[in-house]
Amino acid sequence: MQIIVQIILVLAVIFVSLALMRGGSNARHLAIRRIMLVLFTCVAGFSVFFPETLTQLAKFFGIGRGTDLVLYALIVSFLVFMATTYQRFRHLETTFTKLARRIALDEAQRPWVNQSVERSDGR
């Protein structure tokens, strides 16, 4: 029985992390991430005062101690943080590359332009 719950839990963790990682930067996903962050903070704070409740919850899931539950949640939120930061970084890099390329192309001399100008001057 416990092994089934554990498998389901692992699958849920993977699924939620993937969904949140893939989510990109639209407002709905951002809102979900923020709600999760608030929830996580509340649960963490709550567990300081009522450690038994969390342990009971963990027991119910078949995980063991309440601190383990917090650890798993922490791992998931860390993965999500890593993924969103990576995406934001990639986005920034793309923008930056376009900007640098624009400067490079604008500053470059175009030999064929000069040639045609000389030709039209000659005529």
Binding site: T97, A100, I103
Partner: protein, 214 residues
């Protein structure tokens, strides 16, 4: 031709190209060793990235710059470290201008001129097999810097992988564009210089990671 800190060789590579290819564009990727002026003195047009962006970014800049020339008939990408042969590039360009193909990709595995270490051969073969499985293109060498495009195909290429994963990205885009493509046997000349500048085999780990985390 993407250039990053190749001042000691880029001049002779350009001088070797100019008799056959009168329009050599060097995209300087923010070199700090004066490659820009060496390339300019050798007779190339230099497009200057203000900061270092990576080889993929430099290739894309070079392609976009070349496309702004209205009389363009063929774009050849060529490595600055002298590992490609001008004869190969010439033969590939003529296959484009004759209309035989839209894209000609260099491959070092179509004949036995190129001398490779076993480990490098294995890595390149695996990379080619991986791109064959994921795109369906029957390529024998996915990571060869010598390529030729006609302008119509080059317009559709938009490389976003700034660093080394651009080679695989290019193959993926070609699979979507579906041009008439052929492979052309080329020889890679491994000098001590290109070996010291070339990618270490460990870098293939970075390439795979870049591709997964798109």
């Amino acid at each position: 031709m993407p250039v990053y800190n190749e001042a000691s060789v880029v001049g002779s590579v350009i001088r070797g190209l100019l008799p056959d290819f009168p329009h050599v564009v060097c995209v300087d990727d923010g070199s700090s060793d004066g490659s820009q002026s060496v390339a300019q003195e050798a007779g190339a047009v230099v497009v200057q990235h203000p900061v270092n962006l990576g080889q993929g970014a430099a290739l894309q800049t070079g392609i976009e710059f070349a496309l702004s020339d209205p009389e363009l008939d063929c774009i050849v990408t060529f490595d600055a470290d002298g590992q490609h042969r001008v004869e190969d590039a010439k033969a590939m360009a003529s296959r484009i201008t004759s209309g035989e193909a839209d894209v000609v990709l260099g491959s070092r595995f179509l004949d036995d001129r190129t001398q490779l270490s076993l480990a490098k051969r294995m890595v390149l073969r695996t990379a080619a097999l991986q791109s064959r499985l994921s795109t369906g293109l029957e390529l024998s060498d996915a990571h060869n810097g010598l390529r030729a495009f006609n302008p119509q195909t080059a317009e559709k290429i938009h490389l976003t992988q700034n660093r080394m994963a651009h080679a695989s990205e290019l193959i993926h885009q070609l699979a979507d564009i579906k041009p008439k493509w052929v492979e052309h046997p080329v020889e890679i000349i491994y000098t001590d210089y290109s070996r010291s500048k070339g990618q270490s085999l460990l870098n293939s780990v970075n390439i795979v990671a870049d591709l997964f985390l798109r």
